[in-house]
Symmetry: C2
Subunit: 299 residues, 2 copies
């Protein structure tokens, strides 16, 4: 069975009862499994992690819109996190027995239904985007809800689906397909923030580093150390081990050692198995050699 | 649900119709899943890989004995592989949601039933053994079927279950519990067999190396290279990466590079995840962070 992950970001992180109603709506959709959800009050934003096949995930997103449109009004919404819509971003992520193309098709299908049923304009992003200028979420979201009406009126910013102006209370929604994100941090045995910042600059795409790395240097004040905080947006093309080794080598330039690394949240097993394979030069290895994979297949 | 792996070794690898009947008997046991089986004519031996919970695996072993006792006569059996019994060895291996203690209990329970129902003497081995002199399979099997009657008459060699003399046609059976074995080979970019042999000697337990490593140096004639062929008997205590790095370092002493490594057959995902964790100094990582694990748990 196809397993797709879907991680909708909702512009509500303060009213627990509203989040509870959204969660409940997802729970009522047969076949849509809610793996996790968390709310951040200062961001005023909640992130849900769901998994399932195509139809249940689409149903869950539509059910979520029903609640969100009734409850969230972006005209009075404040929070630290940038946002364009009440349901702000909906990425579909291929996990098992499913291709990126399947997730792109699901994103477009969901986008069309959202636009038709709720009159919310939708922008497609990442792998679902057919426009290089509208591939990155940050570019689409720039100007936020407050600048949306003006942005939509400028050439090149008509939405992929739905009306050519914002929904009055829900703004717009960004729907797409992407690889699993890995939140990966590398802690350094130093309190020198400038070292973490220099290493982050060396490895991240935006300043000349790896194509699928976003990174910044931060201080972990309570531990008296610094961290290179990383988002890996495609672990197949920019693997964990390559990033780790690059950070280690860069750190040496400043006489600094890597203390440890950490993965925040979930990681696809393929990313870890790939790390193991590279670390011991494993040749000819097949996923079906993993005992647990074989056990599940013989069910 | 508990998943235990069971890998019975049968002293029949030439008569395909007998092996087919054994396989059929296992297939008829509800809940016992046959993952794999293979026969070797020169060894005159077959190895089955089954998985399931306690009761089905025990039933499968008893069903297997029914066929084996009717079909195999060790008095006329020849083959390269040492053997003590018609059903020679039965290891139970903990895989998921089950402890080694559970597998030891299952081994003893199965051993008792085999002895009672078939009058076959049974020795317990590895983790199920309560006697340090009878822990290793090689020690128990020394003398083989032909020397068994004499061996059983010597002090210290009364079986753990069953009659104090061999079964006339089926000999004895060795039943126990152990960690998953990993068949792990490291290929060297050289044709110098003595280098592979020296490295094997350096890393294997029997000549001063790692506690849970068996190893030998062999030539891969068709590729013109040599290989350090390794059995890892406990990947938790002697991890893959540690062995790989030791081989790499030893190889450097002879000016030789590691070409690649390979895993033959199945490997528990925990062994690969552990390799990844060590390779990138991953701290505080939990198995529940693996996306697929989380997905299965929420079923």
């Amino acid at each position: 069975m196809a397993i797709i992950e879907c991680v909708p970001n909702i512009s509500e992180g303060r009213r627990a009862e509203v989040v509870a109603r959204i969660v409940e709506a997802v729970h009522r959709v047969p076949g849509a499994r809610l793996l996790d959800y968390s709310s951040d009050a200062s961001h005023n934003r909640s992130v849900l992690t769901m998994a399932g096949d195509r139809a249940p995930l689409k149903d869950a997103i539509l059910a979520m819109f029903d609640i969100v449109l009734a409850e969230i009004d972006l005209r009075t919404h404040t929070g630290e996190h940038p946002r364009l819509g009440a349901v702000d971003v909906v990425p579909f992520v291929p996990i098992e027995d499913v291709t990126m193309e399947d997730c792109v098709a699901l994103a477009k299908d969901t986008a069309r239904s959202v636009a038709e049923r709720f009159a919310v304009p939708v922008y497609l992003y990442e792998e679902a985007s057919s426009n290089a200028l509208r591939k990155n979420l940050e570019d689409i979201r720039r100007g936020e809800f407050e600048g949306l009406a003006a942005k939509m009126a400028t050439p090149g910013w008509a939405p992929d689906f739905g009306p050519p102006q914002p929904h009055p209370t829900a703004g717009a929604c960004v729907i797409g397909a992407r690889m699993p994100l890995i939140a990966y941090n590398i802690n350094l045995a130093t309190d020198r923030l400038e070292v973490a910042k220099k290493i982050a600059a060396a490895i991240r795409f935006s300043s000349g580093g790896f194509r699928y790395v976003k990174a910044m240097g931060v201080t972990l004040a309570d531990r008296g150390i610094v961290q290179v905080s990383i988002n890996l947006t495609n672990y197949e093309k920019t693997p964990i081990l390559r990033v780790f080794e690059a950070v280690k080598r860069e750190a040496e330039r400043y006489g600094v050692s890597v203390l440890e690394s950490e993965i925040v949240g979930l990681v696809p097993s393929a990313a870890l198995i790939d790390t193991a394979q590279t670390a011991v030069q494993l040749a000819g290895f097949k996923r079906t050699q993993v005992l647990e994979t074989r056990l599940r297949e013989s069910d």
